[in-house]
């Protein structure tokens, strides 16, 4: 058993599962947006109409949280592989975490703000 305090979940299994599930969410979201852009005449009205619907806001929020978790697990793994000294590794991890937190909060504001 290797102890770790900086990974996303409480265990390796949880990280693994979050990584897989969030990947599916992101794939679905990407495919949907791609389909929308390809098969709809994208204007300001259609675009803001899409984002005005609650189900799409929920879907977007889900994708936003997914990318936050997905990026955290991925970048945490990269830092534990390649940044060997503890202090710089923690600083890089903290910077990544802060960036993701800012994006998530900002994204919520864009989606649900007035």
């Amino acid at each position: 058993m290797v102890n770790s305090a900086t990974n996303f979940g409480r265990s390796g299994v949880q990280d693994w599962m979050v990584q897989r599930v969030s990947a599916y969410v992101l794939a679905l979201y990407t495919l949907f947006l791609l389909g929308f852009v390809l098969f709809t005449n994208v204007t300001y009205e259609t675009w803001s109409g899409l984002f005005a619907q609650t189900w799409f806001r929920v879907f977007s929020l889900l994708a936003l949280l997914s990318i936050g978790a997905h990026a955290w697990i991925g970048l945490w793994t990269v830092t534990t592989d390649y940044v060997k000294a503890a202090t710089p590794r923690f600083l890089v991890q903290a910077a990544c975490g802060l960036t993701m937190f800012v994006y998530v909060v900002w994204g919520v504001q864009i989606l649900w703000g007035q």
Binding site: M1, V2, N3, S4, N7, S11, G12, V13, Y82
Partner: protein, 234 residues
């Protein structure tokens, strides 16, 4: 044939270097790499390497031959030599003691972690613990490992975290005991593997499968362990 050999003697050398040696290989038969090293040692007795059974059973002469890990004793020259050149290096990722001899301590430490012995809390039967042929069959492809370390030292996840990631060899043995019908400590074993490093550092690139001199498949065993961990946690 030109042999480029990794040399390092910490008592006399400041740094490792590659020594190029021209060698006349006897015609008409396909020598094994270990035979070539033995010929080299006749010329230069200071060359250090490990060997014992010389037939792929003991797992002592794991080394890196033209970029691929394997056992020198069962790797014929016809299989590895490219453009009449053979580059021999120690197994990657482990500290070198001298020439082709590496310090396997970290490898064994990871092996120890998986508790590679049968644990059973039931009273011992009068004669022996029996297994059905089907139960025994589950151990095929697992028990044959000779711990030569070719797989673990071909694994980038093990290179980056040899102190935390158990590595393919250790995990193959972990599953060998998880799959054993006579073992009753599955829960305890799994509880030691449920962290982000021990098992989950495996990225499934299958270097271990491509180098295993016994043709075993550690990636599949790791997949089975992951499924057991998932079942336990959902």
């Amino acid at each position: 044939m030109l042999v480029s050999l990794y040399r390092y003697n910490p008592e006399t050398d400041n740094a490792p270097y590659m020594q190029d040696i021209e060698l006349d290989v006897p015609e008409g038969r396909d020598l094994m790499v270990l035979d070539v090293i033995t010929l080299l040692k006749e010329k230069d007795p200071t060359i250090a390497f490990r060997r014992s059974c010389r037939e792929g059973v003991c797992g002592s002469d794991g080394m890196n031959m033209n970029g691929k890990n394997g056992l020198g004793c069962i790797t014929p020259l016809s299989e590895v030599v490219k453009k009449n050149k053979l580059v021999l290096r120690p197994l990657p990722g482990l500290p070198v003691i001298r020439d082709l001899v590496v310090d396997m301590s970290l490898f064994y430490k990871q092996y120890e972690k998986v508790m590679p012995y049968l644990m059973n809390d039931k009273p011992a039967p009068a004669i022996e613990r029996l297994q059905s042929p089907e139960e025994r069959e589950k151990l095929d492809g697992l028990y044959e490992c000779i711990l030569c370390a070719c797989c673990s030292t071909a694994c980038p996840s093990f290179w980056w975290n040899p102190d935390k990631f158990i590595g393919p060899a250790g995990l193959l043995q972990a599953y060998r005991f998880l799959a054993d019908s006579r073992d009753t400590a599955q829960e305890e074993r799994l509880s030691h593997l449920d962290d982000p490093f021990s098992v989950f550092r495996c990225r499934g690139i299958m270097n271990c499968v491509s180098v295993c001199p016994k043709g075993l498949n550690p990636t599949r065993a790791i997949g089975h362990i992951r499924n057991l961990l998932l079942q336990r946690a959902t």
